[in-house]
């Protein structure tokens, strides 16, 4: 799925949530960050139990599908030279896995892509830019 399509879905959900629940979301972030998207989808489905909110549930489902259809992360020159570290074992809740991955160690200080894990698109170089640092 193209980033523009994902952004369009996020924008549609943003408008619905704003209009029907008063909840304001960050559309661009919603389209690139899986954790944030999952939280908004959860919120949308919770509110969709109320009458007249069927379209909210529908677009939440679309966003969820869009976020799952994510291509492999972009390869960098450095990544071609040095293979990436093995991912943390997928046990426990997502938050716990993230904090495990962020535990400081010398491996964390190596030159590497500083963007956090999450959905990436080969044509979307801005995924996660400015998260956890400017440079």
């Amino acid at each position: 799925m193209l980033p523009s399509e994902r952004l369009a879905i996020a924008a549609r959900l943003h408008v619905l949530l704003r209009r029907k629940t008063g909840r304001v979301t960050d559309t661009e972030w919603l389209a690139v960050n899986a954790e944030y998207a999952a939280e908004i989808v959860r919120f949308a489905r919770e509110r969709a139990l109320e009458p007249g909110m069927e379209d909210v549930a529908e677009w939440a489902g679309r966003l969820e599908q869009a976020m799952m259809a994510t291509p492999a992360p972009r390869k960098t020159l450095l990544g071609a030279i040095a293979p990436p570290r093995a991912p943390a074992p997928a046990t426990g809740p997502a938050v716990a896995r993230e904090s495990e991955a962020r535990k400081p160690g010398w491996a964390e200080s190596l030159f590497s892509d500083t963007r956090p894990p999450g959905p990436r698109d080969p044509d979307d170089a801005d995924s996660g830019r400015y998260v956890g640092g400017l440079r």
Partner: protein, 489 residues
């Protein structure tokens, strides 16, 4: 209630500072200098800001041994009134220019550089912090700071003789003017102003570590206390010829340790104690306008000529060389950061270029009057990569929201520059040989003192007024919450 307690603590701190200074040295009024022999270590060129020997030799050729009839005036060992005719017009003009250049680095250089990198809702607060620091530190410098830093006292702290700029005179009819023993060829008013601009920019650099969440009042408290209890003593240790680090022979031409390592470690401590911005590591913190950042970086680059070449305290060949190596190192830093980013991220960014040139400038600062242009390429190039790592990999390791990478750029750049000065200082340039061990010791001492004192100050201020704004203020943005202003559309 907190304000009352705060006022009492402020009075206490001032009394403490004055007490230390009185203990260090009873006030010694100006007297037409009674020159004494400069100690060997003081004469051994500790760094241009404390180099009476170099300045003197540049202006007054050493008499040849076969003509002892004309005795060279012995160098001053403390501020003194001298004949106006003894001043050097070219040196004075250059130092006034350099002073303006260094002030330009802060106002508006740092304000633009940092203001462009924060989110739109806190641009005003970032800029206001820099302006407030410039004003507050100026008054502190006039009252206490200059005297504590640049008058003779003991190895640890200067004296009180220049409190409130007492004795800093220009007597037209008598034809006298006061000069510092550190810069005997220019009026002391110019020297003190030049040093003031360094005292301003150093705490202004720290702002980058705590933007977008620190209370404005807490920031002012921290800067006041830090300037008096950290900056002034460290400047005395390193730049006043009687300072203990200067006597040890450590080289710091324009402030690698005094300014950059000092600011870097203070910024890191602030980041730890104040805590990360809400959403840090999860949300994208979009910079307001990187065009402003580029304009600020340009002003820093140009202003750094005053910073480094001005630190020669003379309009001479050494100042010219300092200017050349400054420019070369900035270019090398920009290129290596750009290349590093290109390889790792596949994109060379404008912010990376700006950060790289600052990294090169930071690293050449302690070395500027000691190294050749070739060494400047090495220093700037290494610093560009080291600071790129400092602002990315090391930042992840340290896990502090040092928001604009004060430690990553200024701390790491200062450390790299200080160490490389020991390695690359050329006796042909300055007549001194560097020592990596001495440089490392000086750097470690400044790091340790800065870390401990900054931590103590932050703990005290947290008790007094609190360090950070509440959640709703942070959410709204500090521009509205702290200043009731908006940057505009």
């Amino acid at each position: 209630m907190k304000n009352t307690v705060g006022a009492k603590v402020a009075i206490g701190v001032c009394a403490l500072v004055m007490g230390i200074a009185v203990w260090a040295q009873p006030g010694q009024p100006d007297a037409p200098a009674v020159p004494a022999a400069v100690s060997a270590s003081a004469a051994a060129d500790v760094g241009a800001q404390g180099v009476p020997a170099i300045v003197a030799s540049a202006q007054a050729p050493v008499p040849v041994a076969s003509a002892p009839a004309v005795a060279a005036p012995a160098p001053l060992t403390r501020p003194a009134l001298v004949a106006q005719s003894s001043l050097n017009g070219a040196d004075t003009a250059w130092m006034m220019t350099a002073t303006a250049l260094v002030l330009l680095m802060t106002l508006p250089g740092i304000a633009l550089f940092y203001g462009g990198m924060v989110r739109k809702k806190s641009v005003i607060n970032t800029m206001a912090s820099v302006v407030a620091i410039a004003a507050v530190v100026t008054l502190l410098w006039f009252a206490f700071g200059y005297s504590l830093a640049f008058t003779p006292g003991n190895g640890w702290i200067g004296g009180t003789s220049r409190f409130w700029f007492e004795g800093l005179s220009y007597l037209k009819d008598a034809g006298k003017v006061s000069v510092s023993h550190i810069a005997p060829n220019i009026p002391e008013s110019v020297f003190s102003m030049f040093q003031l601009t360094f005292a301003i920019i150093t705490p202004a650099l720290i702002v980058g570590a705590f933007v977008e969440r620190m209370k404005f009042s807490a920031m002012l408290w921290f800067i006041v206390l830090w300037s008096l209890l950290v900056y002034a003593p460290v400047a005395h240790w390193v730049w006043e010829p009687g300072g203990w680090i200067a006597r040890m022979g450590a080289l710091d031409f324009a402030g690698g340790t005094v300014v950059h390592v000092n600011a870097g470690i203070a910024g890191l401590m602030c980041a730890y104690f104040i805590g990360p911005r809400r959403g840090y590591g999860r949300e994208a913190f979009e910079p307001f306008n990187l065009g402003l950042t580029m304009a600020g970086a340009g002003l820093l680059w140009v202003g750094w000529f005053g910073f480094n070449a001005g630190s020669a305290v003379a309009a001479d060949g050494r100042a010219g060389l300092a200017m050349a190596v400054t420019h070369i190192a900035a270019a090398a830093g920009a290129v290596t950061w750009m290349l590093g980013e290109w390889i790792v991220r596949q994109r060379p960014s404008l912010l990376g270029l700006c950060s790289g040139l600052v990294a090169g400038l930071v690293a050449i600062t302690p070395a500027a009057g000691f190294v050749t242009p070739g060494s400047a390429v090495v220093i700037g190039g290494i610093a560009g990569l080291a600071c790129y790592w400092g602002a990315t990999g090391l930042k992840r390791l340290l896990q502090a929201d040092d928001s604009l990478d004060v430690f990553g750029v200024h701390g790491i750049g200062g450390i790299v520059g200080s160490l490389l000065t020991g390695l690359l200082a050329s006796p042909l340039v300055s007549g001194v040989q560097g020592s990596i061990a001495t440089q490392a010791l000086a750097t470690l001492v400044v790091l340790a003192y800065g870390a401990v004192m900054s931590a103590v100050l932050l703990i005290v201020i947290r008790k007094l007024v609190g360090l950070r704004v509440d959640e709703s203020a942070e959410q709204t943005g500090l521009d509205i919450a702290q200043h009731r202003e908006r940057i505009g559309t």
